[in-house]
């Protein structure tokens, strides 16, 4: 490679593998000196967010895992010795082979995190790898509690293959309902979502506001997209009570006959029964639950129903035990007001084609599919038992019921920091006979591994094509992998070949795999590489740009109609309508508990300068916020004698965490809002690592593990806490990296 050059590639920030912001990497003397946005890339048009700007610190980070490491001593102690790649791969292949032969393929688990994108090249390859082994025990910690549960309800009610997404580009009213407002990645959609159409959220919203659109923020805190005079209204809803707000809006819309009569009569079923059911949910009732004045609820309902082009964005954030009421009420709202698949409403976006190769699902044995962990949860059972449910995997490992998996491969996931009940996760991981973790940096999870494999960053990896709408783009290698790091796709191909599956894995040839991935679009790797800077634009299809595609979109619903009264839920033994129950740990539902734990607690997942549990060790980002924060209203802080910047302990009925108080006037005074994903230190700023367990900095210790929605498996992100000033958390010694 030339030593001075500018290489077009894609950002590693929100994920790798998938369609991200275009980047121009400036290489000087063989080293990436700086990056800028690629102006020819239609997603970010030359823009970049703070995380993308920090690429150089992500790549040239002394904290990175550099060599394959084998555990020495007890699990969890963090002592490892350096070994060769060949030996590491032989050990891994040996354990997989042995587990498969001795126990069966379902005893092998593969888990990925947010880092490698959903539905991208990595994801498909790993599913194919598991299927080729005969297993469906593919498990994701994150989506089980955020993306998938709400989607399950939306699909049952209003159909479509994905969420009906906000058509920001044409909206005159935008409801940001417990979202980050694009905070995850302001140059695109961000970490908070994999919904590829609404990238560049802040930009799209701001453009519409300039044309007179209104923005309503429904969130316990005033998020920054609503600052600077942009929010027409901020409704600081009590955390966890969004379902009551949505139900009262339905009540008002039906009572005042503001619904779309034509759409309802033609495309909806169960209207009369729904109307009878929501009679009880009047705004006065909702005021007592949500803390939003009844007249404001009425006004919002009227505004939404009577604005022709109005969209709602619900993020994955409202994780609840009572998700059912919220996740059923929101699509009902969209449907009865006629806002579905119409310009400016919530519409379904489709690319003109799909990337991908076969996942070889025919290779999965019937036994393995029947025994998939989590089949007792409706969402797994009803979707063909295609993957395991992470909550059930953790339980199965810890309890041995219904059986205990033996070997696990984790690619870019850190469940100790991101899954609920981290103590149980450590117990679960220690029950494995073999755990290999592939990651860029050592994490709390790698401490429990038998083998740690150092992953290359996207800047060091080969071609990763991806599609967004009709734009096909590809990231490419900017520099050779540093130290002995290695592309995860190459690791997977190598492993497959060592397991004798080379005929299903392109004989280990990377480019052949990529060509197979591109094949459905009729494009080759060479053709795409000739358009490295700008990518390729596929012809748009009529279907993509058509709206009101009701017949086609609703065809899989009973009678081809929207289910205002939901039979699927009814068949499972629940009311067919959204019934508000609220969260178990809420002052209204648990007044005695609230005496000892007087404040409501939840946490936010998306942020300008962090991505889930990574990137806290990049100095440019870390200096902006050195420690995990909990946002607290100044009046509340004063009551508990807490000052801005004080370390506080946050204690719930389930556990205790620590955070630095951020006095934040734009939050409900009865609410404490922390952030998830904090554990990492930052060596160059002399900030130590902290524990993901009790007394550390992880909000997941505070939530009730059993407060789960029985249908979707969603777990609550709401609890009650008390706070007090405390000392900083214990410093955790960095893991021995065997260098």
């Amino acid at each position: 490679m030339e030593s001075n050059r500018v290489v077009p590639t894609m950002c590693h920030g929100c994920s790798y593998g998938g369609y991200n912001c275009g980047i121009l990497a400036h290489v000087r003397e063989g080293r990436i000196a700086r990056v800028e946005g690629n102006p020819s890339h239609p997603l970010n048009n030359g823009k970049l967010c703070a995380k993308g700007q920090s690429a150089v610190q992500w790549v040239y980070n002394d904290n990175r895992l550099k060599y394959p490491l084998l555990r020495k001593g007890k699990r969890g102690d963090g002592n490892f010795v350096r070994i060769s790649w060949d030996k590491a791969m032989e050990i891994t292949a040996g354990h997989i082979r042995e587990t498969r032969e001795r126990y069966g393929p379902e005893y092998i688990i593969l888990s990925k995190g947010q880092s490698s994108s959903w539905g991208g090249l990595h994801h498909l390859l790993w599913i194919r790898f598991m299927h080729a082994l005969g297993s469906v025990t593919f498990s994701n910690w994150g989506p089980s509690v955020c993306y998938a549960p709400q989607l399950m309800y939306h699909k049952q009610l209003i159909g479509g293959p994905t969420y009906a997404r906000p058509d920001y580009d044409h909206a005159d009213l935008i409801l940001e309902w417990f979202t980050g407002g694009g905070k995850g990645g302001p140059a695109r959609g961000g970490a908070e979502t994999l919904d590829t159409n609404f990238r560049s959220i802040p930009r799209k919203i701001i453009e519409r506001l300039k044309k007179g659109a209104k923005l309503v923020i429904i969130n316990p805190q005033l998020i920054s997209i609503g600052a600077n005079g942009r929010a027409y209204k901020w409704l600081p809803v009590r955390p966890g009570t969004d379902g009551a707000l949505a139900l009262a809006m339905i009540h008002v819309i039906l009572k005042e006959e503001l619904y779309d009569k034509e759409f309802v009569s033609q495309w909806c079923e169960g209207f009369k029964a729904l109307a009878d059911h929501v009679e009880q949910y009047d705004p006065a009732w909702a005021e007592t639950i949500t803390g939003i004045p009844a007249e404001e609820i009425e006004e919002l309902a009227r505004l939404y129903a009577t604005t022709k082009r109005a969209c709602i964005r619900v993020s994955e954030a409202p994780q609840k035990k009572d998700l059912r009421s919220f996740a059923m009420a929101v699509p009902i709202l969209m449907a009865i007001t006629g806002h579905l698949d119409r310009p400016g409403g919530n519409i379904w976006f489709f690319p003109p084609g799909r990337l991908g190769f076969s996942t070889l699902s025919g290779k999965v044995s019937r036994t393995a599919r029947e025994r998939v962990l989590g089949a007792d949860i409706f969402c797994i059972r009803s979707s063909g038992r295609n993957s395991a449910f992470s909550h059930s995997v953790i339980s199965a490992l810890a309890t041995g019921k219904p059986y205990r998996p033996k070997a696990m491969l984790i690619f870019g996931s850190n469940p100790l920091s991101t899954a609920r009940n981290p103590r149980l996760v450590t117990e679960a991981l220690q029950r494995l006979e073999f755990l290999a973790v592939v990651d860029v940096v050592p994490t709390p999870t790698t401490r429990y591994a038998d083998l740690i494999l150092p992953a290359a960053t996207r800047y060091e990896c080969s071609y990763q094509p991806s599609l967004w709408e009709n734009h096909l783009a590809m990231s490419r290698k900017v520099i050779d992998p540093l130290w002995e790091t290695r592309d995860e796709l190459e690791i997977t191909l190598d492993l497959a070949c060592r397991l004798g599956m080379e005929q299903d894995f392109w004989e280990g040839r990377y480019d052949a795999m990529v060509n197979d991935f591109l094949e459905p679009l009729g494009v080759t790797l060479d053709q795409l590489e000739q358009h490295a800077l700008e990518g390729l634009y596929l012809p748009r299809t009529k279907w993509m740009d058509r709206r009101e595609r009701f017949k086609e979109l609703f065809k899989d619903l009973p009678n081809g109609k929207i289910q205002l009264s939901n039979r699927i839920v009814q068949d499972e033994g629940f009311e067919p309508f959204p019934v508000y129950r609220g969260e178990p740990e809420d002052p209204l539902n648990a007044p005695e508990l609230a005496e000892a734990f007087p404040l409501m607690f939840t946490d936010e997942h998306s942020d300008y300068i962090n991505h889930h549990s990574w990137m806290r060790d990049l100095p440019w980002l870390r200096e902006i916020r050195e420690h995990p924060v909990a946002k607290i209203h100044p009046a509340t802080a004063e009551k508990y004698h807490v000052r801005n910047g004080d370390w506080i302990e946050i204690v719930s009925p389930h556990g205790k965490m620590k955070a630095v108080a951020q006095l934040f006037p734009s939050i409900r005074p009865d609410t404490v809002m922390a952030q998830h994903g904090w554990w990492q230190g930052c060596k160059s700023l002399d900030i130590p690592e902290t524990s993901p367990l009790e007394d550390g900095t992880n909000p997941n210790v505070l939530y009730g593990w059993d407060h789960m929605d029985p249908l979707s498996g969603d777990i609550t992100k709401n609890t009650l806490v008390r706070i007090a000033k405390t000392s900083p958390p214990e410093r955790i010694s960095p893991m021995e990296k065997g260098i």
Binding site: R34, N228, P665
Partner: protein, 189 residues
């Protein structure tokens, strides 16, 4: 020709892309203040609050106190009015960082040399925009020639009634703010 900048506060989300982007482009290490900082203020009482977030950078004053206080001739104003530091002459006395009413001068190069935003003078000379202007995800920053009444910048300042911050210091900044409905005099340093 007089280069200036307009911050359209209604477009700023406080995402810190400019803050980190500037460090990325200019190779400014963590631990130094950097050339841009973000202010996040809330006025009013819950729930009737008004939250304001916007960037601060060198205001490119026509009468820059940082230049006036420098006894070593290290404060520069070029023919287009861009204020910068002559690194060869700066002795690191820090006086300019104290003189700046906006708190945007800082000590760079491990405290040896004063530093501040120079509107990416090197990029501008090559016909490019300052880096932050190009990279801002929401186009909240507009760069141009204040002396050219036809420029988008001058037009916007005129029509939108843009104002500099802290006018009371009478330093005549060339960085203007629009759609900021918050009393900027309450800004702390």
């Amino acid at each position: 020709m007089a280069y200036g900048l307009l911050v359209d506060v209604s477009k700023c989300t406080g995402c810190k892309s400019c803050v980190v982007g500037c460090k990325n482009w200019h190779g400014i290490p963590a631990g130094e203040q950097g050339r841009i900082k973000i202010v996040d203020l809330t006025a009013g009482d819950y729930p009737n609050v008004s939250r304001w977030i916007f960037p601060l950078m060198c205001m490119q004053c026509d009468y820059p106190p940082c230049v006036s206080v420098c006894r070593f001739g290290a404060g520069l104003i070029d023919k287009h009015g861009i204020v910068s530091v002559d690194r060869n002459k700066c002795v690191g006395c820090e006086l300019c960082t104290l003189a700046c009413p906006y708190g945007v001068r800082f000590m760079g190069q491990k405290g040896k040399v004063a530093d501040g935003c120079d509107l990416c003078i090197d990029r501008v000379q090559e016909g490019q925009m300052p880096y932050c202007v190009d990279t801002c995800p929401t186009d909240a920053l507009i760069f141009g020639d204040l002396d050219d009444p036809q420029s988008a910048l001058a037009g916007l300042i005129r029509h939108e009634k843009a104002q500099p911050l802290k006018k009371k210091y009478r330093t005549h900044p060339k960085v203007f703010y629009v759609n900021l409905h918050h009393d900027p005099s309450s800004l702390s340093q």
